[in-house]
Symmetry: C2
């Protein structure tokens, strides 16, 4: 059908998340049409990332250096640690620019269905960081899913004996949220946790 | 926020069709996680396409050779020409494997809104091919949009004086289509063009 080089590229692109064969075909056609501009640029960006980006040995972030620029920064609070599931969560928190402490990336959450146990997560490293870096506050910014909440309870049970402030993100109605469009679980939770004015 | 190499790659990926910043971030994160396997493979595929794929000077197809393998093939009917809008249409027809003639890619359709005139399309080349290659049948496989149909009428008016069979794809209810989900235009057309059993 199409030439094998093109077909190979379509197959590779189709493996990427949120893409299928049809959108991969569209992307490859676009690349072919604009190839003089976009293909060398894409190759260079991919090569730069491949050559330069490493995993931070302290928190698990991606950066050109290890420890990463967040772990090395002297402008951030050294005693607060935000525990997150994945690097995309770090990016989301950094986009807001509201959090000024350090991060620790677990690399997932406990899951009975997917067979993810505490050994698969970056928990030991977190415990040793708490002692080494004299952490006084832990913010568990894990997803509000069942697995995320189980992981949160597991970690907070590990921290019970240490003299640390442990908190989790507030749950309720999101900013701009209309009751009509929210699920029953969120509405029940927002009612239960209602604030006195 | 994120490292500038990563950010650059996200920006480049976000420019691709059917992707935005959010899906680009997901893709880049996936690439970072699986980079040992997938980044070199992706770079190689892109480089192969960039180095080897050219535009066929006869029909406008993409191939490693020009004229392309379809134009050069001796297993295809030489006298039938299927006129299409874009290479994605050629891929769609070839996937079915039902058409055995040659192709001619217009590179678009006439559009008053987008300012696409007959000079912008690959029409002159088509007319010269008809004479040179002794084409006896033209199939206008253009989209069933207003612009596609205008282009079809324009081309068929150009071919009026030549002694060629000109046809267009049948329109009606698609295979598996339920009346309930079809637009009024399609139902009206299918009624008007109803077939005697």
């Amino acid at each position: 059908m199409t030439d094998s080089y093109i077909e190979q590229l379509i197959k590779t692109v189709a493996k990427l998340p949120s893409l299928g064969t049809r959108s991969a075909r569209r992307i490859v056609l676009y690349l072919l049409k604009k190839r003089a501009n976009i293909i060398p640029q894409l190759i260079k960006s991919l090569q730069d990332v491949y050559d330069n980006i490493k995993v931070c040995e302290v928190c698990g972030n991606y950066d050109t250096q290890s420890p990463c620029s967040i772990c090395c920064s002297c402008n951030r609070e050294n005693n607060v640690l935000c525990v997150i599931q994945d690097i995309s969560d770090l990016w989301a928190l950094e986009r807001g620019g509201l959090y000024k402490g350090k991060y620790h990336i677990l690399g997932g959450v406990l899951s009975a269905i997917e067979g993810i146990t505490p050994d698969d997560l970056n928990i030991d490293k977190m415990l040793s960081r708490i002692d080494e870096e004299e952490i006084t506050e832990i913010i568990l910014a894990l997803p509000a899913t069942v697995d995320g909440q189980i992981t949160m309870h597991y970690i907070s049970s590990l921290l019970k004996d240490k003299n640390i402030k442990v908190s989790t993100l507030a749950q309720g109605i999101p900013v701009g949220g209309e009751l009509d469009y929210l699920d029953d679980g969120t509405i029940k939770l927002a009612l239960d946790m209602r604030k006195q004015l």
